[in-house]
Amino acid sequence: MGKPHSIVLQNVNKEYRRDEFVIPVLSDLDLVVDEGEYLALMGPSGSGKTTLLNLIAGLDRATSGAVIVHGQDLGTMSEGQVTRWRADNVGFIFQLYNLIPVLTAFENVELPLLLTHLSKKHRRENVMTALRAVGLDGREDHYPRQLSGGQEQRVAIARAVVTDPYLLVADEPTGDLDRKSAEEILSLLQQLNTEFGKTIVMVTHDPQAAQRASRILHLDKGKLVRDEQQISFPVGVAS
């Protein structure tokens, strides 16, 4: 028996309106991603990969078609419900880390937990566990400006996983890092996929980064042009 589907896109279209112009970004897209898959989205600028990531993460809505993630049809949910759903199910990793500069590493990681009913003590335990997992215990009182780029991205990853979300989305997670830091971040993402079974969708321009994924989707002009399964990749087991 196959793995349960994590993400299902059915005939998805997305277009933007600029004044009287309609700009199509994604056209008739069908996609199925299994639980525990590590998917890399590649393609030239303007191919629609970030838009696709935003649709899957519940940050944007399809113009038509269905986006079903973890059994939920996001198009049928109200904005408030999608916001809540994101908090419960999605961990975000951004190219520029998007840490809050006035909060410490600990406080940044704690942010998503403030939306849960966890006690202060439990929040603290979870934050410290997440920081340990990304190798940053001892740095919890540092502000983002006191950390290197790689360390900032680790804090962002800790923030993404601290609520134990179903799905991790990463938009160019290594785009602002040197090669060494990029390798460390990619290893960390791979570890989250293989050891913890997290489904990951990553947008990247970097072929080396994409090689770490279990599957690579190539987009061009809003269409899926190639779907590569990385046979050698040890696909994680969904928990």
Partner: protein, 389 residues
């Protein structure tokens, strides 16, 4: 909920903007508080001046002591009426008082009307907490051209300091032998001399301005009032002192209305200052707002966070403005009584009106100044906000 420390630290990080806004809003709260503090001082002065058992006897039709005149033959009978309270020494607590309002030179060289009150020995007992202040000399002695001066006036008029010679009008002058206080009452805007001395000096023998009477009880108060008003030998106006000062305090209504209008206009100005600061805050934190929304914080969370930051910012200004008014409790301000045109001194009073004004202004500035910038933050599209560099 987005933690408050996020807002507190952002205010600290943008400390120049924060400081400028705090100074601006603080100055506005400060200036409004001064105005209302003086109104409160004026009201307090007039409120404490009236005793519920006291009557002020004046000529019928007079609106204040300054335009009242009673023949001495009539006035001297009032202390002998039954129902008048007596002091420890058995003296009736009824004082004939004569008012003169000469023009006196202020220390700064300008001139103002000043109340010189010719009093009887029991007059001081008819004023609240009347006392010669510490190291403030002694009570005047009749027939020696002496006076006592309210502490508030000593630093406002030329020759009003203890031991000086106070020149009032063209011919009158008195040696200041004492400085008094009287619980913040209207007496604190006056110079007191012996009534008979004043009679001679201003050539108003045989006449007095008013009689201050204290009734022995509430029942006596009513009967005294009826006697003085209706008995053919008097036919005078006996006005309850509380009512008299309530009438006098109507002049403060103008100050209050003017103050309120000014405070509202200033508050609107401060709202723009706060809004400007908050718009800048929202603009510079667009990506942070997008991130918070992506993480699952709702529009309401963002709205409350930015509104809270605005209220916090204006509260800092409000508190600073309010604290800056504290040293003013030590100063007095002179203005004209609209009924007598005499100078009255008002002590700035840090009381409930001032605190209410500061609170209302702060909340209005914070809420309305923060509302539109916060709405802008709330309306942001998450995807667009996340793209902001």
């Amino acid at each position: 909920m987005i933690p408050l420390k996020y807002n507190v630290r952002n205010l600290r990080v943008r400390w120049v903007n924060t400081l400028l806004t705090v100074i601006g809003t603080g100055a506005i709260v400060w200036s409004s508080c001064i105005l209302f503090g003086l109104v409160e001082g004026l009201q307090h002065s007039l409120n404490v001046s009236g005793d519920p058992l006291d009557l002020i006897v004046m000529r019928k039709g007079s609106t204040s002591e300054t335009n009242s005149g009673i023949e001495l033959t009539k006035a001297e009978k009032i202390p002998t009426l039954s129902g008048v309270m007596r002091d420890d020494k058995g003296r009736p607590l009824a004082a004939l008082e004569l008012l003169n309002i000469p023009i006196v030179e202020r220390l700064d060289g300008s001139r103002a009307n000043l109340i010189v009150r010719g009093v009887d020995p029991v007059s001081s007992e008819l004023r609240p907490n009347f006392q010669i202040v510490k190291d403030g000399g002694r009570m005047f002695e009749p027939g020696k051209g002496e006076c006592i001066v309210s502490k508030n006036l000593t630093k406002r008029f030329k020759g009003a300091a203890l031991g000086s010679e106070l020149k009032v009008g063209e011919r009158e002058k008195y040696r200041v032998v004492g400085v008094f206080s009287s619980g913040g009452s209207a007496a604190e805007s006056e110079v007191w001399v012996d009534r008979k001395d004043l009679e001679q000096n201003i050539a108003r023998e045989g006449i007095t301005s008013s009689v201050q009477v204290r009734a022995a009880s509430q029942a006596d108060f009513e009967s005294l009032r009826k006697t003085i008003e209706n008995d053919t030998q008097f036919k005078l106006a006996a006005i309850p002192e509380v009512q008299y000062f309530a009438e006098q305090s109507k002049s403060s209504i103008f100050l209050k209305v003017a103050g309120t209008v000014i405070a509202i206009l200033l508050t609107i100005g401060a709202m723009f200052a706060a809004a400007n600061t908050m718009y800048a805050a929202v603009r510079s934190r667009t990506r942070e707002i997008g991130t918070l929304r992506a993480l699952g914080f709702s529009r309401t969370d963002v709205l409350m966070s930015f509104m809270g930051e605005s209220v916090l910012l204006c509260s800092l200004g409000g508190i600073a403005g309010l604290l800056a008014t504290l040293p003013l409790s030590a100063i007095t301000y002179g203005t004209s009584n609209f009924n007598t045109f005499a100078e009255i001194t008002i002590q700035f009073r840090f009381g409930p009106i001032v605190m209410l004004v500061a609170f209302l202004m702060t909340v209005a500035m914070g809420v309305f100044g923060g509302l539109f910038p916060a709405m802008r933050a709330v309306r942001m599209d998450v995807v667009t906000a996340l793209r902001e560099v």
